[in-house]
């Protein structure tokens, strides 16, 4: 684990910001494009998703180009990557986050400006035959000028912290978009499977009805099958709600509404992969790239600089000086003065205590966060591996086993050892195994996205909770009509 060190706080982007300061010193505009570039450069080495980070647009306002790009992407069936690209282009919360970085940039610019000289003009008319007297004085706070680099340093550190936080927001958006997309995929697949289960229940009921009609089945069995159909129908309705919920969650992240919500998805959840989790040194990578830790480091640096600034202010007399001229009797009398405020009573002790406590608090939080990141990395890595293993087991063992059981049930049916209801239950087992596969795949993709998120530098907001989204009441587990007679 890398320890906190003030030397690591130096930012390579200081020069660019200084230039920005100078440029913006005269005229005012939103520094959106520069902030985006800065965030991109921050994300660059961390960005592991397939979507190129330049998809994060530098346009301060939504433009026609952006709308066209979003429309073009929405017109095609969505993929996880295209969904992320749309979100980067179009999500308003992300735009808001970028503007919040602009606030910090503005603060930095402001803190970089030298103090303003104070000009004093004095007109007086003593009366009588005395002429109008003119006095001119200029006073400049030397203390403020001396403290300028330190104040700027504080603002610089605060902006660096904000930049890391904003970069984290970008990662978070990409992550949440990816999760939402997987959720849509999984729920669509589950809906298809629930429909299949419904058709199975309907087939059992139709068979039972036919047999009951000709006197071969009890009314009880028919009623049981009817209840199974209705349970399965309910499961389909729940599943439809699930799909709609998932679509709306993704719509929010994509920032679309109206016609923009008519996007389609035609791909299935991908096969499991655990290649990434097999790599070594992932914990160190997660710590190294952590934007959460970068944010904390920036805030720690700012707190430390605030403490130093307060200390300097507490011991530095408030010095200002100036020159003055007074015109009297057509003559200018020139003079100079210097003012020294002695900090006898206010030596900024309170500010120093506050800044020091803030720094120590952040340091403790930094260490706690690092510990949490390591734990999350291990947990996520295990989840990726276990879900991949489980998904492969379901795909390669359980599903074939249920299909084989179905084939054997057909043979046993042909041999009149089992009945049509047994056959349909065996088919339902295949559907349920497929449902388990979808659930497990979803859990795997969520875990994998979380692992990528951790390695990209974002720890906050990870979602690793078990994700069982299949409808509980599939109708397949209901009491069967008796095959016996």
């Amino acid at each position: 684990m890398k320890t906190w060190s003030s030397s690591r706080w130096k930012k390579p982007a200081q020069g660019a910001l200084l230039a920005t300061t100078l440029v913006l010193g005269g005229c005012v505009s939103v520094p959106y494009a520069d902030d985006v570039r800065d965030v991109r450069s921050t994300l660059g080495p961390r960005w592991t998703p397939e979507v190129p980070v330049p998809a994060l647009t530098g346009e301060a306002q939504r433009g026609e180009d952006i709308d066209a790009a979003v429309k073009q992407l929405l017109a095609q069936p969505l993929t996880a990557d295209s969904a992320v690209r749309i979100a980067l282009l179009n999500n308003r919360d992300l735009r808001a986050a970028m503007h919040e970085l602009g606030i910090a940039t503005g603060n930095l610019v402001q803190a970089s400006l030298p103090p303003i000289p104070e000009l004093e003009l004095e007109l007086s008319k003593p009366g009588g035959e005395h002429e109008l007297q003119l006095g001119v004085g200029v006073e400049y706070s030397l203390s403020d000028l001396l403290l300028l680099p330190q104040r700027r340093g504080v603002a610089l550190a605060e902006r660096a912290s904000e930049r890391a936080r904003t970069a984290g927001e970008v990662l978070s958006l990409a992550y949440r978009t990816r999760l939402a997309f997987y959720d849509v995929q999984a729920r669509r697949q589950q809906l298809e499977l629930r429909n299949l289960a419904l058709r199975n229940a309907q087939a059992r009921y139709a068979t039972a009805a036919e047999l009951e009609k000709v006197g071969n089945l009890r009314a009880l069995d028919l009623a049981t099958e009817r209840s199974a159909v209705e349970s399965a129908r309910l499961a389909v309705a729940e599943s439809e709600n699930g799909v709609q919920d998932a679509r709306e969650a993704l719509n929010v992240l994509l920032g679309v509404f109206g016609a923009g919500t008519q996007w389609t998805v035609d791909s299935l959840l991908g096969d499991p992969s655990d290649a990434l989790s097999k790599q070594d040194g992932l914990e160190a990578r997660a710590i190294e790239s952590s934007l959460d830790l970068s944010t904390l480091r920036g805030r720690m640096e700012a707190a430390e600089l605030r403490r130093k600034l307060a200390a300097t202010e507490g011991f530095l007399p408030d010095v200002s000086g100036g020159v003055s001229g007074e015109r009297e009797d057509d003559r200018w009398q020139m003079g100079a003065h210097i003012k020294v405020g002695v900090p006898l009573f206010d030596r900024k002790r309170g500010e120093r205590i506050s800044a020091l406590s803030s720094r120590e608090s952040l340091k403790a939080r930094y260490e706690a966060t690092a510990t949490a990141i390591r734990a999350s990395l291990r947990q996520t890595r295990f989840r990726v591996e276990s879900t991949a293993s489980r998904a492969k087991h379901v795909r390669d063992v359980l599903l074939p086993a249920t299909r084989k059981a179905l084939e054997e049930t057909v043979l046993q049916y042909n041999a009149m050892q089992l009945g049509v209801f047994d056959l349909l239950r065996a088919q339902d087992n295949v559907t349920n195994a497929a449902s388990t596969y979808v659930d497990t795949l979803l859990e795997h993709h969520r875990a994998r996205a979380a692992l990528e998120q951790l390695l990209a530098g974002r720890h906050e907001g990870l979602e690793l909770a078990p994700t069982r989204i299949s409808a509980a009441a599939s109708g397949s587990g209901s009491a069967p009509a008796s095959d016996a007679h």
Binding site: L211, V214, V410, Q412
Partner: protein
Amino acid sequence: MDRREFMQLGALAGGTLLAGQALAQTSSNLAPVRAEKPRIVAPGGQVAVVTPNGSTLPWKNVRGVKVGHLVAMPVKHTFAPGLEVEAWGYNGSTPGPTIEAVEGDRIRIYVTNRLPEPTTVHWHGLILPNGMDGVSGLNQRPIAPGETFAYEFTLNRAGTYMYHPHYDEMTQMALGMMGMLIVHPKRPRGPRVDRDFALMTHEWKVLPGMRRPDPNAMSDFNVLTFNSKAFPATAPLIIGRGERVRIRFGNLSAMDHHPIHLHGLYFEMTGTDGGFVPESARYPETSVLVPVGSTRVIEFVADEPGDWAMHCHMTHHVMNQMGHEAPVTVGANARTIDQHVQALVPQYMTMGQAGMGGMEEMGMPVPTNSIPMMGGKGPFGSIDMGGMFTVLKVRENPEAEDGSGWFAHPKGTVADKADPAKLAADGIDPDVHFG
């Protein structure tokens, strides 16, 4: 496309027709051995017992004692082509070889145990020294695996008997350990017979796809056999017209008696495992109930030539691996069911909505190691029976028969579609309605 065409297509697509193919490929192997001229083995011209699908224990004569050897052992046994099981038996077969001797013989039978558990042999129905009776724990200690015991006694009473274990008989008999034991009288009794057959009836539970009979079964027996063979693998009994025939039935089934019914003739029961039935007590019959743990001997003269069915009259006993878990579909509209189920399981086809007849001809793929519930080749199509079923072939020249041919009916002696003119002449309206 009708139901059968569909199923034939399904069978082609679905893979194997193991049982059907096996039956077709090996039907020639199923033919009974060429009928031999009856051998004389006992005084008075008493003919040797024939055990269809079985064998007779060979003797060595050692200083006046007939010495034989039974080896109790696991056996791979085929009930009918397509259904092979891991059974237990004697000398490589189930039932074991028929033991055949003559009243007054002293016999010594060595029994070697190659089973994984102890065993004994009980000589069912014989009167003998108590220590030779073969009840484990009561009369003897059990024969441990690898040991060989000697049983020796004199056969004092002619009759039809059996042998079987009396140690863990539930398992050992359920797996096939049994055999017939015939003692010919020293002096023949009654009319001389020309043919003498031994048939051991038995019942087994072998679910389709399994390879070992279930010894825990107390019901649901689904393989019913004569000499451990199920139709169509049962060897027919070939006899000559006018010959006097004796059939000895034994029953070591676990739970069921078997009413054996003969077509085309009547008979009299002449013996049990208790002895001979007095002539005054005999009466004509066409079915004989063979109770569990008993033998029954019948005798008859077959006057009418032909291929005559002989079978247990319990209808499920003439089925192979009959299942009864499926719902009854008789009367149901198969199309309604099919359209729903086939959408999910394309291989599915509703069966039995018009009854169960002709199922075997559908040729549906079935589990490995299983055979159709019924069906064997006959001269007019499939014989819609199985299990405890065989054919009595009454022929003018039985020695010329190998059992694979069918009776040639004289013209006009086979039931067939009625001539409409004759129907009308006889005042029969086939479209008449009742109720």
